[in-house]
Symmetry: D2
Subunit: 344 residues, 4 copies
């Protein structure tokens, strides 16, 4: 029996379905890696864990894996969260000590979110959504008169707050515009930021010197609401903010205040509460573009989840390091504070 | 007296003002090329022409230059239209025979229009303006539900109708998306289109095989309304059309029909009539984004006009070929049919 | 009779043969443009001109076209030099006044020459040819010891002397190296040079501040030997010079002197005299790489000549401007001083 | 006492000196991370280890770290090999189980090796070194005659054997040439290779279909001499091979045989034995370019070692994951078989 066929894989992708994330072809590829045991109905109880998961070499899904379960999972070599986050229902320390790889599939979202972020940025800068709204209200101005507050991204001063996977996915899309890009990311050394063609900057520098700011910092236990009234007040009059990571990193009310009074304009894909209450003032605030957590949630992205998982599972089965999914790092995994989401 | 100081320049930029298009510094540079005679008030009558323009080596502005005037302009070496078009108020044949360069400053608009076109394309593909409208109406859907009709530009099938200066300015912005690009441009050889990284295609091919179509063909005497009902019906269900050149190349009513019934979606920066009548149905048609001839009319672009003109005037004064402005070509100049615009 | 079939084309490509520059397919395309009259044997005498060329609409080849011939060529619309230069055997003024396009096919050489120039530059910087020579002499040094005079192109200070078609073809190849590029080209405005991602600089600045200098200026009546001892002495100790345009622009003996004493190193593809005399000291001078006018003369480039010519001939036959070949400009054509070459 | 000052760092970079790899500024930065204990004279004996290294949080240098030492190193969090390899004198398993990061600085060599590889490739393709040799022998041919065996990289069929860090550093340098690139790398999934703009291919496919082949596979216990006579015979007549990783992956004698008979041409930076014996036939074999292990060993690269180490040490000291150096992976570290090198 060939070595790669001996792997046994537990696949419990709730809240997604197997067919959401695996094409027929990808599922076939996965079955070539090992026997696939699927659990789609209801939570993974102790009984189900014991029966179906305990001896797996690979677990796909964000099931609870406390030490008590991990101790029994003596064949386990890798856990794939297929939601896009690292959530605190796994004993990561145990995994690191026992060379169990924990991965998530967040890379599938980088491209669609970066694309949406660029679209939101151009829209804010050039007034596309606003112009369309004026047309529908019969109040449009033409030509230069439409552009009194417009600016161009070409050769613009641009700031990044955070330069993780998502920020780095935006960079190539900006490159043709020849922007000067300042980046603030306390997790990254200057050498790394510069190698990406950006300048390192303090948070205040980014805030004060950028006409356009991408907020792409992930939410951690350390940065809740760190962009508040003080930070918005440092921004230039007319600065544009694109928020596509997590609402938790900004003081949303402060952002609305500064947009309402015309100090900034913003576009956001995320909200402190989703769905946004029907009466929320964000719905009537000027100088803003509201998107409904739609930047990453493309069907094509969801379908790529299976592709990434199966390719890395194949590597793991061959004794090679996984390379496509995002690997949990001992230093940082405990810091992430994304809420598990119902189904994005 | 140094040769470059002997040039005498007639500057009559109506409908723009000198200060719209020349910075102080650029005007100083122009004065270093030759004596600058400015005419900003009213039309250039025969008397004014005779007094101020007839002996100029360089004329800047879109004044009438029939043979009768050109015959008297025996020192004339170049005419700069500062509006962005070649208009039929010049005897081009006379100019070509007498080595008088006729130029326009359309290159200043390529970057801002390309940027707006990309923004409109991403917006159509990803539903940004639509989502914002839904938020303001309280009808937004989240995540995957917001994206049932969304598509991504990454690796998308994209078509260009026309691949002139404007189309070519869009190409570098699309490059990071890895699109497959088909282009139809009857004025360009296959070798040229391929060297730009595109595939040559028939018009029907572009229409049928593209998910996203940029209409960037200039209006000529030969292509009025060449995109009509028949062409829209060839497009894929859900195809997106971005129109940023001239409204005259499409049958606007047909485009509205196909958007209204959901066969296509479109974004346009131009309209058959501007301002658009208040009651025009375009204001209420779904699947469309309306921009108010604002793609090119950026103050920064207008200010670049002077820079291009003075740089090329310097070259001409030194006996060198101009290189920044757009040069009228004997073969094509008679074909252009852009309306002179009041002030864009 | 369809309009495009009425064109009659005289094809006399000496010193090349038709089959050197036209593939079968390209010749077929040309025959679809018009009747092709080929003359391959011997010079185009008056008799031959009268019989075969006088009524042509398109002449392909570098035959003499003084006013006396042009006056008889009343159908003539375009002349294609298939050698790569504009040579002074044509009455260009007559052509410009009569809207006869004169073109050459120099663009086919831009890519191969740019590639060779980059190879020569890396070779000079990194000591490839020198290392290989040492190996064959048994005197090689390893590792760091091999690299005491090496430098890298990455983020290097690079200078361009001339930024015409050839220089511009090198730029994209250098882009991944992130060089700071200063360019000196008196024919080009600062705005143009900057739009190419370079800085404008004086000649002295380029000489003094560059570690690597590309000499890509064409030879004109104004710049013979303008890079002489004074200019080489301004270069940095250890500067590298890549010469791929024309030997006439440098004082070759001075360049050899400065290489011999180790002040500079150079790579050249061109020589004041070709073949280089057997006893020429260049053959024994250190700090140099010698290439035998081979940068452009690739068979694939020669075969592209026909492709460019036929594509532009098709445009001209359709009343459109040619776009692939290089167009003679009234301002500059008289300045070029390339020697007609036997067969490159 | 601030947390970051409590780190104690053992720095024993033999065979290099501290001043080879750390600039003054970088050493100052390192001292800001923690107390730096330097050992430059002689091996790290048990006594020295016990006295100076055992309690370090960070060890910089490739000292022996068997389990017996690691057990005593209870504060140890990271080990930086400053030579560029992972060598088998560390108990990696122990390190992985105890979250001790083991890193090397191979990324500093990626850029200079990639640059040299491109230079060697263009040189092989265009005959630069060969032409220079002919000039010095008085046997050069000019123009087309010099190029009978030349080919261009533009739009060429290119193969990669291995697509690790080094191969990936070559890719951006090749991008402007528009090559079709096939890559064979059994450690990488197709999705990853395709995302880099390459096609996945079998080894035979790469060998048979490429005109130019980059051999950039690292030497492992599994691939010694895997490119032998059989593989060279599969290559196209006139194919060019660039070898810049490790000589051990090819059968060097077979490569010489195939070059000697003109089936292939090759450029190599590495040899089975260095220095190459004076009488080795490689010194007289045609169709080859020999470089003396000089592709990576640039002084600027060596000086970057300190920059990478200190930047990652700063991150580690702050409890963040290192990001610039190469991290040892449990799955692969045991496979590498690079010989420790005296001093490259």
């Amino acid at each position: 029996m060939p070595r790669t066929m001996s792997k046994y894989i537990f696949l419990a992708p709730a809240p997604r379905l197997v067919s959401d994330i695996f094409s027929e072809a990808d599922l076939l590829r996965l079955r070539a890696v090992g026997d696939v045991v699927i659990h789609e109905d209801g939570p993974v109880t102790e009984t189900i864990f014991e029966d179906k998961a305990a001896q797996a070499e690979i677990i796909i899904g964000q099931i609870d894996l406390p030490e008590s379960r991990l101790k029994r999972a003596t064949s386990l070599r890798a856990v794939f969260n297929v939601e896009g986050n690292f959530i605190p229902n796994i004993d990561y320390t145990y995994c690191f000590r026992h060379s169990i790889r924990v991965l998530n599939i967040s890379p599938v979202f980088a491209e669609p979110v970066a694309e949406a972020a660029l679209g939101m940025a151009i829209d804010l800068a050039r007034g596309i959504t606003r112009s369309d709204r004026h047309f529908r209200q019969g109040t449009e101005q033409y030509g230069l008169s439409a552009n009194t507050e417009a600016f161009s991204l070409f050769r613009q001063e641009v700031g990044f707050i955070g330069l993780g996977d998502l920020g780095r996915a935006i960079l190539p899309l900006l490159r043709p515009f020849g922007c000067r890009i300042r980046a603030y990311d306390p997790w990254l050394p200057a050498e790394y930021i510069q190698a990406l063609g950006c300048e390192t900057a303090s948070l205040d520098d980014v805030l004060q010197r950028s006409r356009l700011i991408f907020v792409v910092a992930g939410a951690t236990s350390q940065n809740q609401g760190f962009l508040g009234a003080e930070q918005f007040s440092l921004m230039q009059q007319g600065a544009a903010v694109v928020l596509v990571s997590r609402a938790a990193v900004v003081d949303f009310e402060a952002m609305l205040d500064f947009a309402a009074k015309g100090h900034i304009r913003f576009a956001t894909d995320v909200f402190p509460q989703e769905p946004l209450p029907g009466s929320h003032r964000a719905r009537h605030t000027d100088n803003s573009i509201l998107c409904a957590h739609q930047a990453g949630a493309m069907e094509t992205a969801i379908k790529r989840i299976g592709k990434l998982v199966v390719a890395d599972a194949e590597l793991i089965a061959r004794g090679l390091p996984p390379i496509l999914c995002k690997l949990a790092q001992p230093e940082t995994v405990a810091l992430f504070r994304s809420k598990p989401i119902s189904k994005t």
